[in-house]
Amino acid sequence: MLALDHVAQSYGSKPVLSDVSFVLSPGQIGCLLGPSGCGKTTALRLIAGFEKLSAGEIRIGAEIVSHPGHSLAPEQRRVGLVFQDYALFPHLSVEQNIAFGLSALPATDRRMRVAEMLDLVGLDHEATAYPHQLSGGQQQRVALARALAPRPRLLLLDEPFSNLDVELREKLSLEVRDILKQEAITALLVTHDQHEAFAMADVIGVMNKGVIQQWDTPYNLYHQPTNRFVADFVGQGVLLTGNVLNSRQVEIALGVLEGKVDGECSEEGGCVKCEKGCQVDVLIRPDDIIHDDSSLLMAEVERKAFRGSDFLYTLKLPGGGHVLAQVDSHHNHAIGERIGIRLGIDHVVAFRK
């Protein structure tokens, strides 16, 4: 439905995007995830048609909408857009906002579509209100309804939940996902918030410095990051120095890890194909560390964060170095206390030093 093919863009001599390629199939929800300044918003604006690209091409459906020297005007792309600040028209009521993109429809169809959209986002009772009379969440829903009303081929969402509080954010992101799925909308979301990305997207591209680092499912991003940036940006964890014993064993401060060591490739380090004695960094997620009072391996609690259902402990290892451990919340240990831990790793993620 949406395809970016080796897209690049630069402001003057400063490259903003390089060689960005990905495909979204119909009904799929994609996400560009990255820190601010990584180029994700530029990518979104390129797709919407507000910016012109310097190389590559963008296709929506079968139609090439952008390539160097040609750019279909934004209003002709049939792409819906939900802005970070919603950009509701303050001088128009909710229904007028939603009807804004429907001027081509006959009046009765337009009314029906507006009613349908109001119903979809649950704002039937606010039809005649003005944006300034709505709460943040309601404004968000109006923005969504307005973007969906003209049945766009593709919906773009620019940090759509960043103006909302955490609770509302989670609730709304699930709601919006349901709506998009129900309507079978192909959508692309950009955000810097991995929770938002995980909650909404079927497939995520992690971006840094104008380059897509990894285009994958949320599960794979977390469990099989292909490089240090992705490992670091997605989820929590630490890198511990390891010593490769053989192709199935790595030794770290906590013991010897069993698992396939090679095979995982990253663009910066190349595939970890080192022989015995090779030094690597091994990714240890908090859920890889299991608290076990019977374990002989002891670590000292340095910091702890209560997260409701669990604790996130920062533990100091005997031989130096730190790991994070996710532990059931009834295991309440004091700072400075030494607790027993063991490793519970399914597969090894390691990057060559």
Binding site: F50, E75, L81, F83, D85, S103, A147, P150
Partner: protein, 553 residues
């Protein structure tokens, strides 16, 4: 965003916390009184209708002049709206050759008194004017549309007054940013249509602010319509007063005029129907200019150029030519005094007008009740009164107060003293405020409306409230509208005549009174010198305004 009507910002007091929420009300009431006293003095004449004059007016004068006035008001309103808004959009949102120059040059007609422009155009285009004479003698063309006609007076007034709308609409467009236009585009609306569906409606408060100034100026105008001998409500007011010696009848007519304006203003407010024009969605930076090219660019440049030529270059050219003729005999050292007086009165007056306007607009923001809005409208209605009527309405209570003081002094000491208030600059400046509060209020009110409540609250939680917030948050954000208001008030006071004539101290002649001395005996050529001087001094604030308001975009 929080609905202001339901949730007044706590702790948001204007004067001090002790005065509490009465502060804003007090400010608005005081300011309303300032203009209401003269209006009330004028309106009190309603109690003594002059039957003979009314019968006469009713049968022989009113029908024609009502039609005339409505046509004039309608024609000028449409004209200044289209011209002012169109040019504002061109210079604020588009890029074409000469845009930078035109963006400030199109304000220059403000510095020319409208009746002077009118006289110049009649001189050029009437039967004996340069163009018709040449057409007649060289080409035998005699059938030309007459300039001394309804169309002529409307055209000249549009040329003189469009800058009010241009100024306020431009500020509105500049404040919009590009986000909402992009939103419209993403919904399948082209930029051209987005102008009509988004940019234009969003700029409505700004356009209306400028339009109502232009409209009030039109309704209160006497000089320009006199040059055209075009009878309006205001000429009837002056006729009743000056020719039939009935100040009561004049005041009654003026009261009707005010009621008409109040009704219009109220209707406009009601028609907004709760819509807001402020948005936090101004991201995406300033609007990216639409680059016009080819025929479009040529058309934009020619349109702006034509307006500039007709509204400024030609009138000032004629004035300069006349000035050249009389310079040797008329220009003397006194002109330094005239210019200094004008500059000082306009400067002090403009600062005072804008300060009071800010206080009023701020009071209205803190207590946005219907009663408050109505008193704000009342306080700014002085602009719709013909100048001389307002001047006399202002002077009567001042002289009355003086009489009380003088009589009391005489009774207690047996000595005579002169006037205490009459003939002082303080009274003069207050009278300017009564007349020009609207000029300051319009831009400031629309500017203030663009600052969202969220910003107020952000300042508040950072411990910045009351006056501190005004100075640290609002004033910096209001820079552009405040500059615009000051410039407008400055040039308006520079050109003002009736109040200046009536309240000036002995010997305090200004450039404007100089124009009056010359034109009242029909010596238009000699009036060109002070008129050009007004224009030169009036350029100062316009340059200043443009320099500082464009610095940020």
């Amino acid at each position: 965003m929080i609905d202001a009507k339901k949730a007044p910002v706590p702790g948001a007091f204007f004067i001090s916390k002790q005065v509490g929420s009465l502060g804003p009300v007090a400010v608005a009431t005081l300011l309303a009184l300032l203009t209401l006293i003269p209006v009330a003095v004028v309106a009190s004449a309603m109690l003594h209708p002059d039957q003979t004059i009314w019968d006469h007016l009713w049968h022989h004068v009113l029908p024609e002049l009502l039609v005339n006035t409505l046509w004039l008001a309608l024609g000028v309103s449409i004209g200044v709206s289209v011209l002012g808004t169109g040019l504002a959009w061109l210079t604020a949102a588009c890029e074409f050759p000469g845009r930078k120059f035109f963006s400030w040059a199109l304000l220059l007609p403000l510095a020319l008194p409208a009746y002077v422009t009118a006289f110049v155009w009649i001189g050029l285009l009437d039967f004996t004017g340069v163009l018709p004479t040449w057409l007649r003698e060289s080409w035998g063309i005699t059938q030309l549309p007459p300039i001394r006609s309804r169309g002529g007076v409307i055209l000249v007034m549009i040329l003189a007054l469009y800058p009010y709308v241009y100024l306020t609409a431009r500020a509105a467009f500049q404040g919009q940013g590009r986000r909402l236009l992009e939103a419209a585009q993403s919904l399948g609306i082209s930029r051209r249509r987005a102008f009509f569906k988004i940019a234009l409606p969003m700029a409505r408060p700004g356009i209306v602010a400028g339009l109502s100034l232009a409209l009030m100026e039109t309704l209160a105008d006497f000089g320009t319509v006199s040059v055209f001998n075009y009878n309006t409500f205001t000429t009837a007011i002056y006729q009743a007063w000056f020719s039939m010696f009935s100040l009561p009848a004049a005041s009654q007519l003026a009261t009707i005029l005010i009621c008409f304006v109040l009704a219009l203003v109220t209707l406009e407010q009601l028609s907004r129907n709760g819509a807001r024009y402020a948005t936090s969605a101004r991201g995406g930076g300033g609007a990216r200019r639409i680059v016009l090219s080819g025929a479009n660019a040529l058309m934009a440049t020619s349109a702006a150029g034509l307006v500039f030529l007709l509204a400024f270059v030609i009138p000032i050219g004629q004035l300069l030519a006349w000035t050249h003729n009389v310079m040797a005999t008329d220009l003397d050292a006194r002109y330094l005094d005239f210019a200094w007086h004008s500059l000082m009165l306009a400067g002090l007056g403009a600062v005072l007008v804008v300060s009071l306007a800010l206080a009023l607009a701020y009071a209205q923001r803190l207590r946005p009740t219907p009663a408050m809005q109505f008193s704000a409208r009342l306080a700014t209605i002085g602009y719709a009164l013909p100048g001389a009527v307002l001047a006399v309405g202002f002077y009567i209570p001042v002289a009355g107060l003086d009489n009380l003081i003088i009589d009391a002094y005489r009774d207690s000491t047996g000595e005579e003293i002169g006037q205490i208030l009459g003939g002082t600059l303080a009274v003069m400046l207050l009278a300017y405020c009564a007349r020009f509060l609207a000029v300051g209020f319009g831009p400031v009110e629309t500017g203030l409306a663009r600052i969202t409540r969220g910003m107020d609250e952000a300042a508040q939680v950072l411990g910045t409230t009351g006056l501190k917030r005004l100075f640290r948050v609002h004033l910096p954000m209001l820079r552009a509208p405040l500059l615009a208001a000051t410039a407008l008030a400055f040039v308006d006071i520079m050109k003002e005549l009736p109040i200046t004539l009536m309240t000036r101290p002995f010997g305090w002649d200004t450039l404007a009174t100089r124009v009056f001395e010359m034109t009242s005996e029909g010596e238009w050529e000699r009036a060109a010198l002070p008129a050009v001087a007004i224009c030169l001094v009036g350029l100062l604030p316009i340059f200043f305004l443009v320099k500082h308001s464009d610095a940020r975009t």
